[in-house]
Symmetry: D2
Subunit: 269 residues, 4 copies
Amino acid sequence: MIRVTVWYEYAQESGTLKEEFAEGIPQEIVEKFSSWLPQAAERIRSQYPDGLMGTLAGYLKKNPDFQVTYVNMYMPEFGLPDELLDNTDVLIYWAHVMHQAIPDSLAFKIVKRVQAGMGFIPLHSAHQSKPFTYLMGTSGSLSWREGDFCRIWTVAPAHPIARGIPEAVELCEEEMYGEPFDIPTPEETIFISWYGGGEVFRSGCTWKRGYGKIFYFQPGHETSPSYHNPYVLKIIENAVYWTAPTVWRKDFSCPNIVESPEKKRAEKG
Amino acid sequence: MIRVTVWYEYAQESGTLKEEFAEGIPQEIVEKFSSWLPQAAERIRSQYPDGLMGTLAGYLKKNPDFQVTYVNMYMPEFGLPDELLDNTDVLIYWAHVMHQAIPDSLAFKIVKRVQAGMGFIPLHSAHQSKPFTYLMGTSGSLSWREGDFCRIWTVAPAHPIARGIPEAVELCEEEMYGEPFDIPTPEETIFISWYGGGEVFRSGCTWKRGYGKIFYFQPGHETSPSYHNPYVLKIIENAVYWTAPTVWRKDFSCPNIVESPEKKRAEKG
Amino acid sequence: MIRVTVWYEYAQESGTLKEEFAEGIPQEIVEKFSSWLPQAAERIRSQYPDGLMGTLAGYLKKNPDFQVTYVNMYMPEFGLPDELLDNTDVLIYWAHVMHQAIPDSLAFKIVKRVQAGMGFIPLHSAHQSKPFTYLMGTSGSLSWREGDFCRIWTVAPAHPIARGIPEAVELCEEEMYGEPFDIPTPEETIFISWYGGGEVFRSGCTWKRGYGKIFYFQPGHETSPSYHNPYVLKIIENAVYWTAPTVWRKDFSCPNIVESPEKKRAEKG
Amino acid sequence: MIRVTVWYEYAQESGTLKEEFAEGIPQEIVEKFSSWLPQAAERIRSQYPDGLMGTLAGYLKKNPDFQVTYVNMYMPEFGLPDELLDNTDVLIYWAHVMHQAIPDSLAFKIVKRVQAGMGFIPLHSAHQSKPFTYLMGTSGSLSWREGDFCRIWTVAPAHPIARGIPEAVELCEEEMYGEPFDIPTPEETIFISWYGGGEVFRSGCTWKRGYGKIFYFQPGHETSPSYHNPYVLKIIENAVYWTAPTVWRKDFSCPNIVESPEKKRAEKG
């Protein structure tokens, strides 16, 4: 049983900016949000009656190997109290406009949990989230444009995350994310996307940090229907299996090996 | 002074199949060549009055840091006698229809010269050449289609090979090469191409083998004007600098270290 | 069920040089062999009553997930007829003095089978075997010395190949293999060995080539007891699971995509 | 001219804990420091009359290509005011007991400067410093023991950082750092160390983050004479050249490409 936590920043879907988050966000953005968030909420609802991450969580819940917990940032402790994080095997993370409202203390807890073994699947605009950029050591910057056709090419067809995925998956509408994508050289580049407007993007990449495995995946603009696409869902499901930990690191100390292995060997004779 | 050898298989440009190569090539292809090669020769001449690789060699010769030798497969010893190979710092290699006519003995000489330090720049259809696939250990397979628009994106803008190159370079016509490209995970992916027909391709990639550096670069279909594009030329020029060896390996033996470092240290006291 | 083929060059264990192999081997070595091989055979028998690879194959046979075939180079078609190779999921390969007697045609068949998905586990002196060096594109050279103490450090403890392996495994006697080891940068370095004489060695490394996975592992000098060590055996067993293919590549062609994806999309409307 | 800043935490050499740093450090360590720092200062002075980093800075100052600024944490703004950081091409960083006293704000400034192009050379105990671990996304943990013999093996002899370095460098006494070293898979592993007590360590490794290059190097325990060793000094000097930026990133924004490249191309006709 893989314990999957689906975390969502939720601001767009709620339609309002939770008061306590306003301080972490520049004033001009707060003002922009007062009109933008309600519109976003409406658009999301029309596309995703069960919610954006609700739709993804609902899909994953059908898999009997997964025990799925669906939370959001508007819940107490940002939806990720220690008890939940400490019982998460794989964290799926969607965030966009609220990155700066996440305290460093929480971001570093996630980082440490990944280093201990937790799988981490940042989706779409999580490319600039604190947990992802702190794990990568890069800015996560890229170029973007709303409303484009997207074709995802499978460049590593033998990878477990590509199992059952055709050589190309077409998304009628997705936000364009373009290169250069400021990430460390991926250990594996599984998918590269083609956009109708003329750009390319390394849209499915893996890294390891400590005992934990990471898979970034591009699709998921909140007003695009990508999380209804069976292949997008299958890729994320495959990624849950692939990032799921097989062993946890418990001790992060730097041990002082007072008695050296060679001394011990000499003593044994 | 960097000693650059530009090597070209030349069959298309000559318009005829050199008799001695016919045996390395399946009979149905030999027959196809009798009509195809003269047409190719005509098309190349209209695009490249100085020849395909002649144009590239001519450009590189203007750089006073380079000492350029331009040879082709129709010359004695396939244009690469030992004396030339042993005095080459960087080998630029364009081949397409004659891969199988290159004897393994020559391919392995090139492989070994790369392992000793020689830079290697396989261009375009050299993706399936013996030297490239023997250095990679992969088949080099890909999909293709003639006559497409190509936009090359720079995904590693800080790499020396991308120096002076804009974020995107547009080629009005190039052969489409599409993923999956069967190569080992590149150490650095510097360029990814977008094609008007809908494909993507890792079009500029690096690897190291022994002391030698390798840069594969996609553009260069024989009837496309890519080697007139100043950025394509600049990228290849940058790659000559980047792949040029700084140190050569001379001894390929596996030494038997009869007296261990620890024994020597003990003797020194 | 994983179909594991354990392949052994066998010359040392047989004690004699098979006549037909002599031609692939320099004359001075053939002469050296006439006295050396019988001695080696005696030493191996005292260490491994069931044979060197016979011992390893015997261990693997106890695993009900594995269907093990144990063959050697003295059998017809070098022990690897097409029918066997084409029904092998994971090939374990031990070779030392007979590398040059393996024809390129067989070496390239193994390479292609790996590219198609077969797992490949070259052991010990297979570092200079044709299949390994052809897959790597490097010489595989290193330094060596017989009869040293070896401590294998686990540097990637979360890797499946390290499952159940302690942080260090001690081998009372193993042949020293020392850096620099001429290999492409490993995708994962799982083990690094320490030798009593003062050297270090990247002793457990992985790469991918096409659909296939490769794990090189250092221990296994024919007169050292390493294949009696439970951790060495466990590492190889883990590697069989890890390199076992999940999907096979069937078509190695370069398809001409006459009708582009974008044209098809436009036609669909 | 490469602008090199050598940064040192200095606490051990000063012999006292600067009052304002005490708050960042657990109380029991503050107490321990009151007796430990003066002793450390004495030991360092006997080994390095010009100071630990003073010795390294003095060596680098002799290179006419370098403009060296030597600062320490006890200076205003931790020795790294914005004006200095913004005029640094390569930052050499030695820290050990004061990691937690460095504010995140400064650590993130260093991270961002690396992403913009600055070379970064964390030495020895900087393996757990904030800038290094924030760039890596890993804990940097390892095992350790004071006072061991160390032999550094060159595993990538063709790398520019290994230029002029023999295949092995012996250090009569260095602190042992042992695997597993919790770092992302290095892009290049240039050196691996052997310790008399029985451990191994990836002691010289490179990564890229954004436009910046990073080289971690192990030697430099404050009471070991390693920074008098000509090869250790040469390796750091080589690393300054290798990490020096050739191009700076100025804009970290995520541009909205309102008008797509394809729209622009269509408009051009």
